[in-house]
Symmetry: D2
Subunit: 392 residues, 4 copies
């Protein structure tokens, strides 16, 4: 492998729904998808204002004829072309994810979708089923999971370096919603509107990120039951701005039965930026990682000095190092994490087109569905007075 190696023979013809001018998330999708020539951006329904979308598409070198006013037109028109899009990324407001994702799958397209995939488990199950029937890839952009050191952690855990997992203490607890920001910044308003944001704010918006990271680190992790307590500290919010969840895990290859996960999801952690931290404690050693300093991971073997593992270092596993875009010491950031995911999405899509299924992981439709289910279970627990509820 070499730095930024192209992973697929033929770039995947790719379109975007949403993510137009000024969109932060649209930009990171494009940066990640295009940098290694695994995708070609050939079409888009970038904007609800068609002219603005067309103008923006032009800047991106997209043929104006393939800049569509909406996703339905795009899917219909592209289907008529021999060189029509093969994959589409969805960067719309949350409330549209489900319908666009469903339509894309039905149109035979691979999908990359922002989380949450949808709002209910029924919807999620439907998407899982549809993806399977259509043999299409659905990649979900749990972007932080693409950091190289998450891959490193996954292999160390598999190798038994930590012993059996016993406790996970994690948080994604940012601070900017400590006051009624939605009165000041109108674009924040939908986040507390259940019809647009689904049944949760903090759990869904940030809590699902560390959840997926530990699923990526510990693929055999199974939740047995959970308890959630949530509330809004800022008056007048319909959805929670702060939540805490405790999960008991089932025993499995790398997990001691009864292992516990503590998860703090918050938007009112005054003064914090992400506070997105994960500590995985095993019977022999622990790992600790923080998305704000993603190039370092603490590795603490009981009875030995703490070690700091560095991204890009020669002592990492080959599977982690293959994703170096630059040598160790140099800082990588979130764009590289997304790029790693998009590279895997491309390979998965190319494989799927050939009917092949490579043995590697990425946040897929089931991971997306798992997030939805987890939110539902958390809400169920909270609604029952923070009672313990079985997960299956």
């Amino acid at each position: 492998m070499y730095y930024g190696e192209k992973r697929v023979e033929n770039p995947i013809r790719w379109g975007m729904v949403g993510g137009g001018r000024g969109s932060q998330i649209g930009y990171i999708h494009r940066s990640a998808a295009l940098r290694d020539f695994n995708f070609d951006l050939v079409a888009g329904a970038f904007d609800i204002d068609p002219e603005r979308g067309k103008d923006f598409g032009k800047q991106l070198h997209v043929d104006p004829d393939r800049c569509y006013p909406d996703y339905k037109t795009m899917f219909a028109e592209e289907a008529k072309r021999p060189d029509g899009v093969q994959a589409v990324s969805i960067a719309t407001p949350n409330g549209m994810h489900y319908e666009v994702c469903k339509a894309a799958l039905e149109a035979g397209l691979h999908v990359v979708c922002e989380k949450p995939l949808c709002f209910t488990s029924e919807q999620a199950d439907e998407l899982v089923k549809l993806a399977e029937e259509k043999h299409r890839v659905v990649g979900v952009t749990y972007g932080y999971s693409g950091h190289q050191l998450i891959q490193q952690a996954r292999q160390m855990i598999k190798n038994g370096d930590l012993g059996e997992i016993r406790v996970i203490n994690m948080s994604f607890a940012f601070g900017g919603y400590n006051f009624k920001i939605e009165d000041k910044v109108p674009s924040a308003k939908w986040r507390f509107d259940p019809s647009k944001a689904g049944p949760s704010f903090a759990l869904g918006d940030v809590g699902t990120h560390p959840l997926f990271i530990i699923e990526a680190m510990i693929p055999d992790m199974k939740i047995d039951n959970l308890m959630c307590t949530k509330r809004s500290f800022v008056e007048g919010r319909e959805l929670e701005d702060n939540a805490f969840v405790i999960m008991n895990l089932k025993g499995s290859e790398n997990v001691q039965a009864g292992a516990q996960v503590y998860c703090w999801a918050s938007s009112i952690n005054s003064g914090a930026r992400h506070y997105h931290k994960i500590r995985v404690v095993g019977s022999k050693a622990s790992l600790e990682w923080d998305d704000e300093r993603p190039n370092q991971m603490l590795y603490e073997i009981e009875g030995e000095p703490s070690r700091v593992l560095e991204r890009g270092a020669g002592y990492l596993t080959d599977e982690a190092r293959v994703e170096d875009r630059i040598g160790g010491g140099h800082a990588e950031g979130l764009f590289e994490a997304w790029s790693n995911l998009y590279a895997r999405f491309a390979v998965a899509m190319a494989d799927a087109d050939k009917g092949a299924y490579g043995d590697f992981w990425y946040p897929d439709v089931k991971a997306g569905a798992q997030g939805i289910k987890w939110i539902e279970k958390c809400v169920e627990s909270a609604d029952k007075g923070s009672a313990w509820v079985d997960y299956e």
Copy 2:
């Protein structure tokens, strides 16, 4: 004030029960009590082996005639002397705290006692009552609370610098008991024996430390209800080696009603030393402190750069700075924290002897009783299947 200023006119005549040769805890008691000439060590029942105790006492410049074989003899004999002890510190195994403390109070002595004061609320209530009746001071050595920056936090919270408190995330989760250490180190065995350690290991041994620190920081904090989940990850232990507690707080001057405290107490956090961290989140700003780096405290106002407050700095409050033993920049450690507590114990004792009661705080008999009650409530919750239980 000046560095290490003596706080009482006449040093308090002081004795020790336990804390003999080789005792780590005995040493820190003496270091803290004697350094500023607020106490004179004049008697002791240092050791269950009287000769060894006498020999040790000699090294400490204690008159051999006042080195006693046991605490009962000491209290009886000292009572006969015009210059008998006025105060006694208890540094015995936990199982003896209650009886020695009670006997000391009954003998009219002030007491400094290791936590836990006792094993049950009934015992604790009895000690509270006895101390009141006898007008005696009982100081409990929640040593970390004596760090200067805890005092600083207390005043910042009182001043409203954080706004209303909403969330506290705290832990004391060390790592050395990740394997069955009690089979290897016999002196660790009693910790998992309920008859010697009380109804809990992790909660009582370490969890009560951050609990008292937040009580010290936020004196008006009142627990409404709580939920505890605890277990032993290492097989064959009668008491938990890991626990998690969530508390809902009542509204009060500095606390928003419904504020939550998350507390992780553990002895199996592989590779960690103390992992004794406290983050207090208010509506405007947060504070974060870690006992392993006690000279720094993070102060994060939402929307501004994070600040690091330094012990001894000129910008701290006068009440915090009065306890400087050396200028800022120089590292203080746990011995200074204990010394601060002992200095306050001395003043409280001298005040009590005069019938005066100064307006300052220290971990007193009620703080000790609160710890016992909290453990009981946690155990009650856990025994009910980690149900929510009312605190009062």
Copy 3:
């Protein structure tokens, strides 16, 4: 501005010399240049093996007819096309920089070149002159200087937030060359061969990076004289693997006369990754930055708590914030720093083509020449027995 906004009306037609398959530096050039559609990669002489170069170009969507066997052919052939390249990036071994840069300028092309631009001041002066005559832009990839917080520092210093600059303590001292790596890794060999690497290893390879960063932070900085001590700790090396330089500065608007810069450049700092740290001390406050954690900068006002400034935060200056590619809290890395530089190169090139010269900075041909001169002066000092030598 919005995230990743395109900065030039028409993308600049761009080619590469070197930077073929497997090249780390070629990859970062492309990632930075292409991500925002400010450049189109339309030609290249990627590889000394023309077939391999052509094959690689294909992956990059470059017309095979415009994949050339060498830079001379490329410049000649592209000059014949109406849509020929307007700019070229040079990612060859150091020994070729000068001739390619010169040829490109003579061919009327804008240039982006790796440092060092060349090996001697004579060459550098020639390039400066040539660039002026031809009205062409030469951007030098002092990549770290593109980090947002460097821009922030520049403005804070200009604003007087630090007072007058008195001391700068800086280092770029990595660790991997602590043993004779060139015997093990053949590609490291040229670095110690003066005919290929120029008159210096550590000073030129890493020392010029912090040098340019402080020039970017303090544009009015002027070196008065300097002293350098250098040597090879690993036997058999012709060029130094470790050096130290002290510079006295002249007085200027933001600099106190007699201010001093201490610079440690090393490749034998065992166990360190970059150790690329810069502390700028003013009469009122200091700034401290480390390229391994580029999203944070320490800001320490004397008498106040230390502050940590965060990339992307709302309290940064507008000029710094304009380069956000993602919101604060999210980690950016070296690729974003390079992307910022390439965006400025694009604007400078587009301006130059219009005969306009915008009021903004980037590492230009004079910055490149300054690095060469600095190395020469350091070598001169070292050769004179580490004597002080005047800079002008």
Copy 4:
């Protein structure tokens, strides 16, 4: 050994010169000397005001008859007593160190003295000679060197864990004198008066601290030559407030010939507290230590993850662990470092009284003399225009 074990059979009868009420340095001397019953404070000339000194002595349980108006009277009167002082600590202003130290040695007393011992090498040589003739111990309170991890570093270097030492980068660069503090705080004025402070401010006041630490870490270290540049950034100061020194080392067992030491000593490092940092780079690995976080030391082996060594940890050497006053994880501070030194002083004094000389190190009269010589050589270099000067 056990926590705080008494090291000498009979406590040493001890007196103080200076260090009266309000003295920060007097307090740390007493705290360190008395805590382990290795010294008895029996006499003192605490204060230039005899009554105030007597009153203060009373608080310290010193017989009023043995509280003297001045050191001469003390030495004379105590000499007449069979139980007169055996050792004396000098905590006066710098200008008196030499005469009191000399008088004490002539009176046959052991001495503990603040650095600097004196102002000139002639004086230092005289004290060295006198101490030898009288077979008396002179301990110099380079207090930071007593931290446990310094001992650990010494042994790791001796064991060859770092390979041959090549580079040391160190600083003690505090910030409070960035403005003309001596106009505001009269007690700071003497520091810039050569008649009271000697020939240097920053070099002597802070620079000698890291110097002694590396001497303690690398006992076979020998300076070959050095270069110093120094100046006052704040106008009107007679002595330097900022200095930089480069030293070349001779080859020795643990040091590669030509190894270099970089030392920044400053009082104008705005916003910094101590900035007292030492990085020792060997051919295989490096150590890094900072007095503001003295319980941690970075240990970086090239090619492996960085490690953080913790004070009190079980993996430290026995020689380091013997000085534990409390278990690992708990923070020790500067008082423990001083206590470690005083315990060694006591043993050295008791040994000397028996004519025995134990094989252990402490900052002795030669270390004190070395500091004086180093300052002189630095001043010599600076006075010659920052020329290189031979050390021997």
